[in-house]
Symmetry: C2
Subunit: 345 residues, 2 copies
DNA sequence: GTGAAAGCGCTAACAC
DNA sequence: GTGTTAGCGCTTTCAC
């Protein structure tokens, strides 16, 4: 254990500046109501001593932590294949950093790990939580609700029960899906298949709904459920080709799925987009730009969504610097999507 | 702001159990030296009240935080394309969780952001740090050294200056590279190219060294520097094909690079592995299994490396439960690699 | 506007 | 073994 010199305390700063601890504290916290000369002296003392406030002591009295938990409720491997989460994290990190909040990462490690996360959240160690990738049966929202931790969800949570006051950030999955199908039909395609995501997630369910909006009387055989992974996309595509070898387009629920589908189509000797047009969802660059051919896809601004989640939470927490640029109570946001044309459709 | 009921304090627990605060504290912290009946009573009180220790109050006196910072010093986009970091995070998270430590994620947001991270680390908000993907000119090690925060690095840091006491976890990049080349020569290939990673990172430099160990008198034209990204791999592969259209094998410094190279090779009409054998490094499944053809690669156990980093740090911090299963001072570890044969070589 | 003083909830000596 | 007590470093009334 390194024997670090003890950090200077506020006391030391106050002494050096020749003021009381109270005044030093005021300056450190913005300096409102302290006369200029004193402010300057304290600032200089802080500088010279390299003073950094002790967050524990501060939290003890303020009951705030300036820390937010990011919960990734995906025990499975998806998180580790999809740049999606990394991008959201980036957006979240930027926003939190800009407002001096720390990011405590909570990865759900398995089926039985929700309790631990719930306990942590209930423990009041963080001011709020940002929660991702809930599935329908997830116990987390319940635990969170119970713990009373201010929370913003990534993606519309579906507690069909109600509790519509839940704050979330999502993209317009349904309209995005419609746009994808519209594009395909615009290309003259008529036998359009859809490979869904896991339907216990609202994002996947909404995209399916959007697909159906446009293809109300399509052959139900043309829809197959999958899981947002490339391997799942491959399996689904094989199934689809078996059922309807004459299909001429595929709308995959995300880019990873599309990548898998593309591979199977190539194996089967079909040309993309000539024989089969393919369109994805997300526009995760490392995937969409790297497929063969590059993927036409529905773009959502993932990093921005992360940023918005953080901002919403900070507002909810009454963070001044964030609250001022928007009036009224924070409310959920649904971002629009845009179609990005590349070569696959 | 939700008006949560104030959390019960130790005081409340003690009162309910009919003991002093000190005894209640002892029980909460393991219960050593407290007689059984009392232990039970306190435990019950904790249970009934739903008591959770106030971490801020605890830290204030213990000067420990049971929290570790994970610093990702990659301002660029690589983090978001490569499942590498996500996998390490997973390993780290598991180990930290197992020992009741929290993970505070610090993403370096840009070229000028090191100072912020340094300040945070110096602020004594965490007990230690886990630091990734340093580049040669990175100011972070200096800042960390200065701050005196116990740290374990992911990948051997290169401060050619010395300070060999730095703790790190790495895989045997050099021997792994040798193994890759050995495999290629074993396949009868003689004109073997190498696409490196960014050579200001030791992992990339070590792999290059390993390559040179085996190919001492190869045409220097056969080595081209790249950046661990698919796009970089493509560029490098094009360059290589221009310089030496007769090459018959490529050792790419990581899987992502190999994926890019594969694409260019295909475009150029070459068959893999018949015309050109390709081998990667990492064995990141979502990449290596999904390339066309599936990638032969040098595997490193990324998640395990994450776990080891966390364990090492915890030991360094004197964490009891971790210290006991290994004697002596913790020291850096270099894990072996293994060759995974798939179709590309 | 500034300072004095009272804790925030907890652990760790130190008595008993 | 168990209780008493003294802070940890900070913010925040409340006087002045």
């Amino acid at each position: 254990m390194t024997d670090t010199a003890p950090r200077p305390t506020l006391e030391a700063v106050a002494a050096r500046a020749g003021v009381s601890r109270a005044t030093a504290s005021r300056v450190v916290n913005g300096g409102d109501g302290v006369r200029e000369p004193l402010v300057a002296r304290v600032r200089r003392a802080v500088e010279e001593l390299g003073y950094v406030p002790n967050q524990a002591a501060r939290s003890l009295v303020t009951k705030r932590h300036d820390a937010v938990a990011v919960v990734i409720a995906e025990p499975e491997t998806r998180v580790f294949a999809d740049p999606f989460f990394a991008l959201q994290l980036r957006g979240i990190s930027k926003e939190l950093t800009a407002h001096d909040n720390q990011l405590v990462l909570l990865l759900v490690e398995g089926r039985d790990d929700h309790a631990r996360v719930g306990r942590y959240l209930a423990g009041g160690h963080v001011d709020g939580a940002l929660v991702f990738s809930l599935h329908l049966d997830d116990p987390l929202p319940g635990l969170i609700q119970h713990a009373g931790v201010p929370t913003v969800f990534g993606g519309r949570p579906d507690w069909s029960g109600g509790r519509s006051e839940a704050l979330y950030v999502d993209c317009d999955n349904r309209e995005g899906a419609r746009e994808a199908v519209r594009h395909l039909t615009g290309l003259g395609r008529t036998r359009i298949a859809h490979i869904t995501g896991p339907l216990d997630q609202t994002s996947a369910a909404d995209r399916l709904d959007g697909f159906r909006d446009m293809m109300a009387d399509a052959d139900p055989q043309l829809v197959v459920e999958s899981d947002f992974t490339p391997a799942g996309g491959e399996r689904a595509m094989r199934e689809l080709l078996e059922r309807r070898p004459d299909l001429d387009a595929v709308f995959a629920a995300n880019d990873l799925t599309a990548a898998g589908a593309l591979r199977v189509l190539r194996e089967s000797g079909r040309r993309v987009p000539e024989d089969v047009a393919v369109i994805g969802f997300d526009d995760v660059l490392p995937v969409a730009e790297q497929t063969e051919p590059p993927l036409t896809t529905v773009r959502q601004d993932i990093e921005e969504m992360g940023r918005l989640m953080a901002r919403l939470l900070l507002r909810r927490l009454g963070h001044r610097a964030v609250a001022e640029d928007a009036e009224g109570a924070p409310s959920s946001v649904v971002l629009p999507t845009t179609l990005v044309r590349r070569a696959s459709a």
